[in-house]
């Protein structure tokens, strides 16, 4: 019969390898937590440094701007009032000087077919560049080819008269400077 030892005071033997493994695990965990804390603190410090570098205007500067901004607005409003009409007149002159009649005639020459004859043409120096004209076309094909070319330019056909062998049309279209 096998004898069972019942000595509770006896110290159990410790497995050295298993203990070393567990101790290493604990040490690693402690190191991991410490590294996380250090990383977090380092990130905060670098963020704070960046924030300091990108700092906007300070409180005294903002107070000065608060004080100066209404004065600037007043000054601008006064100058607008005194120089505004003169500036508007100069702007209007420049806009009208930049209007080109020749460019519009060139455009008309480019879109007109040989079978289309311009009978009357009226051009005014206005921002929308409205061109009013009366034309005569020999065939419907030529007439519609012209309509097709003028369609993107707000073409308005006021009147079309069909006579023997000719189509007479009053029409208008807009060609502002930007489209030339």
């Amino acid at each position: 019969m096998r004898k069972l030892p019942y000595n509770l005071a006896r110290v159990r033997p410790v497995n050295g390898r298993a203990f070393a493994l567990r101790a290493a695990l604990l040490a690693l965990l402690a190191l991991l937590f410490a590294a996380l804390a250090a990383t977090q603190l380092a990130a905060r410090r670098s963020q704070a440094r960046l924030d300091r570098a990108a700092a906007g205007p300070g409180q005294p500067q903002r107070a000065a701007m608060d004080q100066e901004t209404p004065l600037l607005r007043q000054e601008i409003a006064a100058r607008k009032k005194s120089l505004g009409p003169e500036l508007a007149a100069a702007d209007s002159l420049i806009a009208r000087k930049s209007f080109s009649f020749v460019a519009r005639l060139d455009f008309l020459e480019a879109v007109s077919n040989p079978g289309v004859r311009v009978r009357q043409l009226s051009l005014a120096n206005q921002a929308n560049g409205r061109v009013v004209m009366s034309i005569g076309a020999g065939t419907l094909k030529e007439l519609f080819a012209l309509y097709k070319k003028l369609a993107p330019y707000e073409l308005v056909i006021s009147r079309e008269t069909q006579t023997e062998g000719q189509y007479l049309v009053d029409l208008s279209f807009s060609i502002p400077n930007e489209k030339l």
């Binding site: 410490a34 804390a37 704070a48 701007m65 100058r79 009409p85 007149a89 100069a90 080109s100 311009v118």
Partner: protein, 172 residues
């Protein structure tokens, strides 16, 4: 056996300490983040204010520069009273060069406004389309403030008749 126990205790203490430090670091980070949000908002408002201020300063600088620019514009592009005779000579020369000798031209002098006096000219030209277009081209190329206000062209036979309405602006 005792040394094992001491080792375990030390390691557990170290683990607790590092875990606490980690927690504290993250808590500190969160508090910092909240404070930073407030700072960033204040800074963004400051930037907007600074940009607006700079824009106003630049606008004012533009307005301060404007009188000199307008003077230069008048000097270089608006016809002076002395130049008006030259302008009329130029117009006649341009007409002559394009085969339209001495048409009758009506000059109408308007009211002076914003330091400018408007002169309206009306005339009728008859000739080939090519010559009319060349005349328009030549006049449009002049640097001073004269331009066509309205042109009506009507074709009749071989000739084209052009009704011209022109404007010139005279300075002081």
């Amino acid at each position: 056996m005792k040394s094992y126990r001491v080792t375990v205790k030390v390691l557990l203490a170290l683990l607790a300490l590092s875990a606490a430090a980690c927690l504290l670091a993250y808590a500190y980070g969160s508090v910092q983040d909240m404070a930073r949000q407030g700072r960033l908002q204040r800074r963004a408002a400051g930037r907007v204010q600074e940009e607006e201020f700079n824009r106003l300063r630049a606008e004012l600088a533009g307005w301060e520069k404007l009188p000199a620019d307008l003077r230069q514009f008048y000097r270089e592009h608006v016809i002076s009273m002395d130049d008006f005779a030259n302008f009329r000579r130029d117009l006649n020369l341009c007409l002559d060069d394009n085969g339209f000798p001495a048409p009758s031209i009506t000059f109408q002098f308007g009211k002076r406004s914003a330091h400018l006096l408007k002169v309206t000219m009306q005339f009728i030209l008859k000739g080939s389309y090519r010559n009319l277009k060349k005349f328009i081209f030549d006049m449009e190329g002049k640097p001073k403030m004269q331009f066509f206000n309205k042109i009506d062209l009507s074709a009749g036979g071989e000739e084209v008749t052009g009704h011209f309405l022109m404007e010139a602006y005279l300075g002081e």
